[in-house]
C-alpha cells in the first residue's frame, strides 16, 4: 500500500500525476456529496470542486517537510498533500481507519507525514498557528516553511490581522494563501468586504503580496515558488490571493442558489481540469481518450472504495478516551 509520502512525492515534476490527482479530487468530492445526500455521511462536508489547481499547485511546490494549516474545507488539500482517498473517506465516514481514527470527521483531517496539521473548523485559527510553526523553523534554523490556507471570508477575522502583523514584524518563513473563491458561506465577498483585491491588505504590514490565477496550476506554482523562496531566504512572509471559484455549494446540501445567474457558468469555462487538459494535450502529455478512460477508472475506483470503506470497522469506545492528555 502506498504511503501518503509516496503519493506526495509522485507529484513533483510530474504534471500528469498532478492532473490525475486533480481528477481524483474532483471525483472524490462528487462521491462524497452523493454519500452525504444518501445519509452515509453525518455532520457536514465542504467541497472544493473547481479549486483543484490551487491545492495541487500547493502540494507540488511545497516540500513534504513543510507544513500546512488549512480549514474545514479539507478533503481536497488533504488528498493533494498525499492522504489516500481511503484514509480521507474513512475519516469522513467516522471509521477507525480514518486519518484521525474517526473521531475528527470531515472538518478535521491530519497527517503529519506530509505536513498537514489538524485542520481547524474555526475561521482564521490556522493563521497564527502557521506563523507559530514558522517561528519554530526560524528558531530551529531549519529551512522549512509553513503555509496557512484560508478563504476570502477569513480575511475579515481578527486572527488574520494579528497573524500577518506578527509574521511580518518577526520576518517568519510563512506563506499566507487566501483562497478567494468569491463566497463565504452564502455571502458574496463584496457584501462583507469593501475591497475587491484582498491581497492589498498586506500593505498594512509592509508585506509582499500578489494575486494569481487559482484555476491554473502553473500560475499557482509560480507565485508560490516566489513566496517560498523569499521565506526560505529570510525575506519573511507573503500574502497570496488565489482567484478561484467554489463550483459547489458551501457545505452539506447547499445548492448555491444565491449566486447570480450565469456566474458559475462563466467560471466553469475556466474549470481547472479543462485548463490543465488543454495544457497537457498541447504538450502531447495526454490524449482525450486517456482523459476519458482516466476519469472512468477513477469513478469506478472511488465507487468501489466507497463500498469498501462503508464496511471498515468503527472505532472502539476506547478511541473516545485516548489522545486527550498524556
Amino acid at each position: 500500500m502506498t504511503t501518503s509520502l509516496e503519493r506526495r512525492n509522485s507529484l513533483y515534476e510530474n504534471d500528469l500525476a498532478c492532473y490525475e490527482r486533480m481528477v481524483e479530487i474532483r471525483e472524490f468530492e462528487k462521491i462524497t456529496n452523493a454519500l452525504f445526500a444518501e445519509g452515509s455521511i453525518r455532520g457536514t462536508t465542504h467541497l472544493a470542486i473547481g479549486q483543484e489547481a490551487l491545492t495541487l499547485g500547493i502540494a507540488s511546490t511545497l516540500r513534504a517537510k513543510d507544513v500546512v494549516a488549512a480549514t474545514y474545507r479539507s478533503h481536497a488539500i488533504g488528498l493533494a498533500l498525499g492522504l489516500s482517498p481511503e484514509s480521507v473517506l474513512a475519516e469522513i465516514m467516522g471509521k477507525a481507519t480514518g486519518c484521525c481514527g474517526g473521531v475528527g470527521g470531515s472538518m478535521h483531517l491530519c497527517d503529519t507525514t506530509v505536513g498537514l496539521l489538524p485542520t481547524s473548523a474555526i475561521i482564521g485559527a490556522g493563521i497564527p498557528v502557521a506563523a507559530g510553526a514558522a517561528l519554530a523553523f526560524q528558531v530551529q534554523k531549519t529551512d522549512q516553511v509553513a503555509l496557512a490556507l484560508f478563504g476570502d471570508g477569513a480575511t475579515n477575522i481578527g486572527a488574520f490581522h494579528e497573524g500577518l502583523n506578527l509574521a511580518a514584524i518577526w520576518k517568519l518563513p510563512v506563506i499566507f494563501l487566501c483562497d478567494n473563491n468569491v463566497y463565504g458561506e452564502y455571502s458574496r465577498i463584496d457584501k462583507t468586504t469593501p475591497i475587491e483585491d484582498l491581497h492589498i491588505r498586506a500593505e498594512s504590514y509592509a508585506m509582499p503580496h500578489m494575486s494569481l490565477d487559482g484555476m491554473d496550476i502553473h500560475a499557482v506554482r509560480k507565485g508560490l515558488a516566489e513566496a517560498i523562496e523569499r521565506a526560505r531566504s529570510g525575506g519573511g512572509p507573503t500574502l497570496i490571493e488565489a482567484k478561484t471559484y467554489r463550483f459547489s455549494g458551501h457545505s452539506r446540501a447547499d445548492q448555491g442558489l444565491y449566486r447570480p445567474e450565469g456566474e458559475l457558468e462563466e467560471w466553469q469555462k475556466r474549470d481547472p481540469l479543462l485548463v490543465t487538459e488543454k495544457d497537457l494535450i498541447s504538450r502531447n502529455l495526454i490524449t482525450q481518450e486517456k482523459i476519458d478512460s482516466l476519469k472512468e477508472n477513477m469513478v469506478a475506483e472511488l465507487t468501489a472504495l466507497a463500498k469498501k470503506v462503508a464496511d471498515h470497522p468503527e472505532p472502539e469506545l476506547s478511541a473516545m478516551f485516548s489522545n486527550i492528555w498524556t
Partner: protein, 336 residues
C-alpha cells in the same frame, strides 16, 4: 396554540418582538438574505428590511462589540453566533465589556442585548462545533444565560431575553431545531424561573436543554415518581424551585450535557447540599458526559451525552441502593 418546529418558534419569537418593539434589530452571519444557516430567521429580512436585519462579515468580535455599543445607545440588538464555540474569538465583548457596563456607568447605561447561539452534541459536527460551553459565562455578575428545551421554551425564553434590560445569552440546542412542539404564545416565561416538567415524590431530577427530554424519557422508562426540573435559566438558576423540590423528595440527580469536570451541575449539588444536608435521604450526584472532546463518529457521539438507558440505570440504582452509581465509562473499564 400552534404546532411548530423549535427553529420556527425562534423565528416567531424574534418576529413578534421586532413587531412590538422598533428598537429590536438583528444581525449575524448569513442571517438576513440566507435566513440563517439553521433557518432560524426565515422571513425576518423580508418583513423588517435591511436596516434592522443585516448580514455581517465573519467578525464575531466586531459584530458582538457592535451589538454592545448599539445596546448602550438604546437599541435592543439580537445577534446570532452560529456555533457557541465562535464566541471564543469574541468573549471579551460579552464578559468584560457588556457585563461591566451597568456597573461602570453606575446604572446610567445598560446593555439590553441578546446573543443567540446554537449549542450541543449529537449531529456529527465534531469537537469544535458540538459543545455547550455555559461555563464561559459563569462567574460573571451582570450576565444571564438561558437554554430552551422545546419549541415552547424556545419561544418564551427568547421573548423574555429580548425584553430583558441586561445582556442575555440564549443557548439553543442545535439538535432540537427540527423538533416539533406546541407553542402557546401567551405563556410568559421569566428569566431565572425553572419549569417543573414532571412532578413526583421520590427524587428530584434537574436538567437543561436536550437533557430535559432525555431525563423525562428516563423517568418514564424507570417508572419512578420524580420531579423533573427544567432549569431553563442556568445563570441565575432558580434556587428556590430546586430547594423546594428536594425538600419534598430528599433526593437529587443532575443530568448534564457537560463534562464530569467543570460542568454546571456541581453548583446545583453543592448549593443544595449546603442548604439541605440533613434532609437528604441519599447522596446527590451528577450524570454527565465523560471528560473527553466530543467525538465525531456516530457510535461514539451517541455515548457522549447521557442517554435514556444510562440515566434510567442510574435513577434506578440511586433509588434501590440509596447510593451513587458509577458512570458507564468506569463500569466498562474505559477510564477512571
Amino acid at each position: 396554540m400552534a404546532a411548530m418546529r423549535f427553529r420556527q418558534a425562534v423565528v416567531a419569537a424574534l418576529a413578534d418582538e421586532m413587531r412590538s418593539d422598533s428598537r429590536v434589530i438583528f444581525f449575524g452571519e448569513d442571517v438576513a438574505e440566507a435566513e440563517g444557516p439553521f433557518k432560524t430567521s426565515e422571513g425576518i429580512l423580508e418583513e423588517f428590511g435591511p436596516i434592522r436585519v443585516r448580514d455581517t462579515p465573519i467578525s464575531e468580535m466586531g459584530f458582538t462589540g457592535a451589538a454592545v455599543g448599539a445596546a448602550m445607545m438604546g437599541l435592543r440588538p439580537v445577534i446570532e453566533i452560529m456555533f457557541i464555540e465562535f464566541l471564543g474569538v469574541a468573549l471579551d465583548q460579552v464578559v468584560t465589556e457588556a457585563a461591566k457596563t451597568r456597573y461602570l456607568s453606575q446604572g446610567s447605561l445598560s446593555v439590553p442585548m441578546t446573543i443567540r447561539a446554537s449549542v450541543g452534541s449529537g449531529l456529527g459536527f465534531g469537537c469544535q462545533h458540538s459543545q455547550t460551553l455555559e461555563h464561559w459565562f459563569a462567574s460573571t455578575p451582570g450576565l444571564k444565560v438561558v437554554m430552551p428545551s422545546n419549541a415552547q421554551s424556545a419561544y418564551s425564553l427568547l421573548r423574555a431575553a429580548i425584553q430583558d434590560p441586561d445582556p442575555v445569552i440564549v443557548l439553543e440546542p442545535r439538535i432540537l431545531y427540527a423538533e416539533r412542539g406546541e407553542v402557546d404564545k401567551n405563556i410568559v416565561t421569566h428569566i431565572g424561573k425553572a419549569h417543573l416538567r414532571v412532578t413526583g415524590n421520590d427524587i428530584t431530577i434537574v436538567a437543561l436543554g436536550q437533557m430535559v427530554n432525555v431525563a423525562e424519557a428516563a423517568i418514564k422508562k424507570s417508572g419512578t415518581s420524580a420531579d423533573l426540573v427544567d432549569l431553563q435559566t442556568i445563570i441565575p438558576w432558580d434556587r428556590e424551585a430546586v430547594l423546594n423540590s428536594v425538600k419534598k423528595t430528599g433526593r437529587l440527580i443532575v443530568v448534564e450535557e457537560a463534562p464530569l469536570s467543570g460542568g454546571w451541575g456541581s453548583e446545583i449539588i453543592a448549593f443544595v447540599t449546603s442548604q439541605l444536608f440533613s434532609q437528604l435521604k441519599s447522596p446527590p450526584f451528577r450524570i454527565t458526559t465523560p471528560d473527553v472532546p466530543v467525538p465525531f463518529n456516530g457510535g461514539l457521539e451517541g455515548r457522549y451525552a447521557p442517554t435514556i438507558e444510562d440515566v434510567t440505570r442510574q435513577i434506578l440504582y440511586a433509588l434501590e441502593k440509596n447510593d451513587v452509581p458509577q458512570p458507564w465509562w468506569v463500569l466498562e473499564g474505559l477510564t477512571r
